[in-house]
């Protein structure tokens, strides 16, 4: 755990990719099995301990430290694990030596809701502040070290001088502590076999279409860009898995999809929720709001399945019936996909329609006219391109709709997390409601319409942080209420009716577009203006 804690600390302070790679590779080379395998899983967020959640850590700390002091500390530090590691009272008397990573993992895995308070405390007592930080980060599964699965694989390849493509291929069927993988890479054993596993294949990704670019539409097919989540559905004839963009297995969250692919295939599409929620046509795709009800769940209730039925809108096929289609042109893959879709359950799979645009100007007009809640923009795919992993210039483009804009008034601010801890960086803003009286303002009140925590530059963040501190009229724990004097131009992709907010509105993807320090607050937009833009 000491070497792992030192690695975690070094990774926190190392910005360069090469620096991170060298640190991880060095650790993997010099640490024995099974410790290094568990450490690798921890770095790539591959560990889950059901009894050890941030809430358990919070409860433990509040039993040792005054709850308000813990809360104030957490608010400043911006991270529960780090706060806990710093606040943990040093134990009196001799302690057992620090645990190895695999020992810690075994202990964490054995903890139950009943035992976690006692057992986690015993582990923390054996570590110093850096060790406690590494342990709690590992236990609660949020390392936030900027180590993607891809980076970890490159580091692994670098550590043992093997090809990264091979690492990617053999990795997916493996589980921590990856003993066969280390045995292959470090000791020259035969590679782990993957034939029987429904494996994830890397996605092909799109570049944003740059302003002013106008690709020739005879070489590109146009499709809607759906506002769901990108998934890969993989069936090997026995088992079916649903993978997210990052390669996470989300089959458990979407059992109806996993149960619905009866043919061996690897398909690429958009996961959406069907229904008339948020105004989608009956049987069509609902907005992202509806899909959000289904995300991140380990188990799904029957009511969830009935109220928010999921389906996949397919747009590509990587493999069908054992044949790898990836080397073929998009047009050929599309034909194969069109032939396959009629054989699938129409409740669970449909085909993403092509947009019949004759020219780029046509497409631009179609795109700007689309306000369907489930449409985020359009995609352009080169007709003769193979399916290649990653983001390759010139093959796929995404072209999002222009955002909607509204002038809102800053009402509340909250401190951010992580890199932005201690900066006021989460902003709640509102628009005017009610009839203004003669002098233009009395009689009106501000109703919150959204919350945004990005869109500004680092310089603007500093400016906003200072503004909040100097214009605070009230504090509610970590939240500050401001004097409602600052206008923010907010950009958002769409706006929906919502019962959750007093204004009855919810913005999709709001971000701070401009700071309008020049504009008086009373000239900000009125609620009715926003309501007129509701997409439902």
């Amino acid at each position: 755990m000491i070497a792992f804690a030192a690695l975690v600390d070094a990774l926190v302070y190392t910005r360069s990719r090469n620096g991170k790679l060298a640190l991880i590779a060095q650790y993997l080379r010099t640490t024995p099995d099974p410790e290094r395998g568990w450490a690798l899983a921890a770095l790539t967020d591959g560990l889950d301990f059901p009894a050890v959640k941030a809430s358990a850590v919070r409860t433990l700390l509040m039993s040792r430290v005054d709850p308000l002091l813990f809360q104030l500390s957490r608010d400043f530090v911006g991270d529960t694990a780090e706060t806990a590691s710093l606040l943990w009272p040093e134990p009196a008397g001799p302690q057992l030596p620090p645990p190895r990573v695999d020992e810690a993992v075994a202990a964490l895995a054995a903890m139950t809701r009943a035992s976690v308070q006692h057992d986690l405390a015993a582990l923390l007592d054996r570590l110093d502040a850096d060790g406690r930080y590494a342990l709690l980060k590992l236990a609660t599964g949020a390392m936030r070290l900027g180590i993607s699965a891809r980076l970890a694989k490159v580091a692994f390849a670098q550590a043992f001088a093997v090809a990264v493509e091979e690492v990617e291929e053999y990795w997916h069927g493996q589980v921590p502590p990856y003993l066969p993988l280390f045995d292959w890479a470090a000791n020259g054993a035969p590679p782990p076999s993957d034939e029987d596993l429904p494996l994830f294949r890397p996605f092909m990704l799109a570049h944003p279409l740059e302003d002013g670019a106008a690709p020739d539409l005879s070489a590109y097919a146009a499709e809607w860009k759906w506002d769901g989540i990108r998934v890969q559905v993989v069936c090997n004839g026995q088992a079916t898995r649903v993978y997210s963009r990052s390669g996470d297995d989300i089959s458990a969250s979407f059992p109806e999809i996993a149960a619905a692919l009866p043919v061996p295939a690897v398909l690429d599409g958009e996961l959406l929720v069907r229904g008339s929620y948020q105004g989608a046509a009956e049987g069509g795709a609902a907005s992202f709001n509806a899909l959000q009800q289904r995300l991140g769940r380990k188990t799904v209730s029957r009511a969830m399945l009935a109220d928010y039925p999921a389906f996949v809108r397919l747009y590509d096929a990587l493999i069908i019936a054992g044949e790898d289609l990836r080397p073929f042109a998009w047009e050929q893959r599309r034909l194969a996909l069109e032939a396959l879709v009629p054989r699938l359950d129409p409740a669970r799979f449909d085909l993403s329609a092509l947009i019949p645009a004759q020219s780029f100007a046509d497409l631009a007009e179609i795109r700007s006219g689309a306000r369907d809640a489930a449409i985020e923009g359009v995609m352009l795919k080169r007709r003769d391109s193979p399916y290649v992993a990653g983001r390759r210039t010139g093959l796929w483009y995404k072209w999002k709709r222009d955002p909607l804009l509204a002038d809102c008034v800053l009402m509340y601010a909250q401190r951010g997390s992580g890199k932005r801890s201690s900066f006021y960086s989460d902003f709640t803003f509102g628009c005017w409601a009610g009839e203004p009286d003669a002098d233009g303002l009395g009689g009106s009140e501000l109703l919150p319409v959204g919350k945004a925590y990005f869109g500004f530059t680092d310089e603007e963040l500093k400016w906003l942080d200072r503004y909040v501190r100097q214009h605070t009229v009230n504090r509610f724990g970590p939240v500050r209420e401001t004097d409602r004097s600052l206008v923010l131009e907010v950009a958002f992709d769409s706006i929906h009716a919502s019962k959750r907010h007093k204004s009855g509105l919810a913005m999709r993807f709001p971000r701070i577009h401009r700071i309008r320090a020049d504009k008086p607050a009373r000239e900000a937009d009125r609620i009715e203006t926003l309501r007129a833009q509701v997409a439902d």
Binding site: V12, T14, L69, L72, S73, V77, E82, S421, Q470
Partner: protein, 334 residues
């Protein structure tokens, strides 16, 4: 009769001593100012009369040119102000010249600490607890997550990193007044005898420290040597210079920063620091709470920093306390 301590009024721009018509550490020019120490957010220029320790006055003279109306008061000495107020200066252990100011009026005693710490510091005399009715304390690091490690351990980490990376320039960001000289003095105490290189903004302050008898060993301006000669050397610069163009001309700099904020990882990351050194000239949580307990005042007033948590601690320990909303003091120590 006036309520207790009503002769001392917290105003947004500083503490106002009503009968003496004088301010402590005012944020804007006034007729009569008592200044606890030389950091810019406490010691502003332009007062008609400035009362401070000789070292603080020298620091202000260096920063603002000559200080007209300067009146020096040494440690342990006092001065009678108009309106029957006596003010005396006592070591605060923060930086060279830093003082707590004891105010006595109508049988009531108030100590204003300015900024302070309780750790040993070879560049200034240690904090002396002064008995009082009201203790006006800072709270820059007033959260229980702040526990500064022993400075010797942090200096050892800097020297170990230098051994590990012989080809890299060890660039240490440190506040130009106080922190820089303390780091140098501690390096010397750890046996580091090589020259220490200085960013131009630090030279005059280091010389001033030496004039006050603080030995700092051999110091060299960065400007005097070719940049390539700085590989493997220790260079001190103000924190603001860490990320500006100036630092890019150094040979493969390893960016370190000496600040109490470095205790929090994300704070260090925000500054793009590769080697965070937890070195502070402010009291940490344990020092703040131990000092309040030791001084044992009837009331504790908390000026700037994380006053919420220290207020809570006072409440938990059944101590009367209040937060003063003074503006103008920055999150210093960086």
């Amino acid at each position: 009769m006036a309520p207790p301590f009503s002769w001392l009024r917290p105003e947004p721009q500083g503490l106002y001593i009503v009968p003496a018509q004088a301010w402590i550490d005012p944020a804007r020019p006034v007729d009569r100012a008592l200044v606890t120490h030389g950091h810019a957010d406490h010691a502003r220029g332009g007062h008609a009369q400035t009362i401070a320790t000789p070292a603080t006055l020298a620091i202000m003279a260096l920063r603002y040119g000559t200080t007209a109306g300067a009146m020096a008061v040494g440690y342990g000495e006092g001065i009678d102000l108009p309106g029957g107020v006596r003010a005396s200066f006592h070591p605060a252990g923060h930086v060279l010249g830093s003082a707590q100011i004891l105010l006595e009026h109508a049988g009531e005693r108030v100590v204003v600490t300015g900024d302070y710490k309780r750790r040993a510091d070879p560049t200034c005399p240690p904090f002396e607890p002064v008995a009082c009715d009201v203790f006006v304390t800072e709270a820059t690091f007033g959260l229980p997550v702040f526990r500064h490690p022993p400075i010797g351990a942090e200096i050892a980490r800097l020297l170990a990193a230098r051994e590990r990376h012989p080809g890299r320039c060890m660039l240490v960001g440190a506040y130009a007044l106080g922190k820089a000289q303390r780091v140098i003095a501690e390096l010397r105490r750890a046996g580091y005898a090589e020259p220490v290189y200085l960013h131009g903004a630090m030279e005059r302050m280091c010389r001033l420290y030496e004039d006050f008898g603080i030995a700092l060993g051999e110091l060299r301006p960065v400007a005097d040597v070719p940049r390539s000669a700085l590989a493997g050397e220790i260079v001190l610069c103000p924190p603001s210079a860490l990320s500006d163009r100036w630092s890019r001309s150094l040979p493969d700099p390893l960016t370190a920063m000496a600040s109490g904020w470095m205790r929090v990882r994300q704070r260090a990351r925000q500054r793009n620091v590769e080697l965070p050194l937890i070195v502070s000239d402010h009291a940490d949580w344990d020092e703040l709470t131990a000092t309040i307990a030791e001084v044992n005042p009837a009331e504790t007033w908390i000026t700037h920093g994380r006053e919420d948590a220290l207020l809570r601690w006072c409440e938990l320990n059944q101590r009367k306390a209040r937060a003063l909303a003074l503006v103008g003091y920055e999150d210093e120590d960086d």
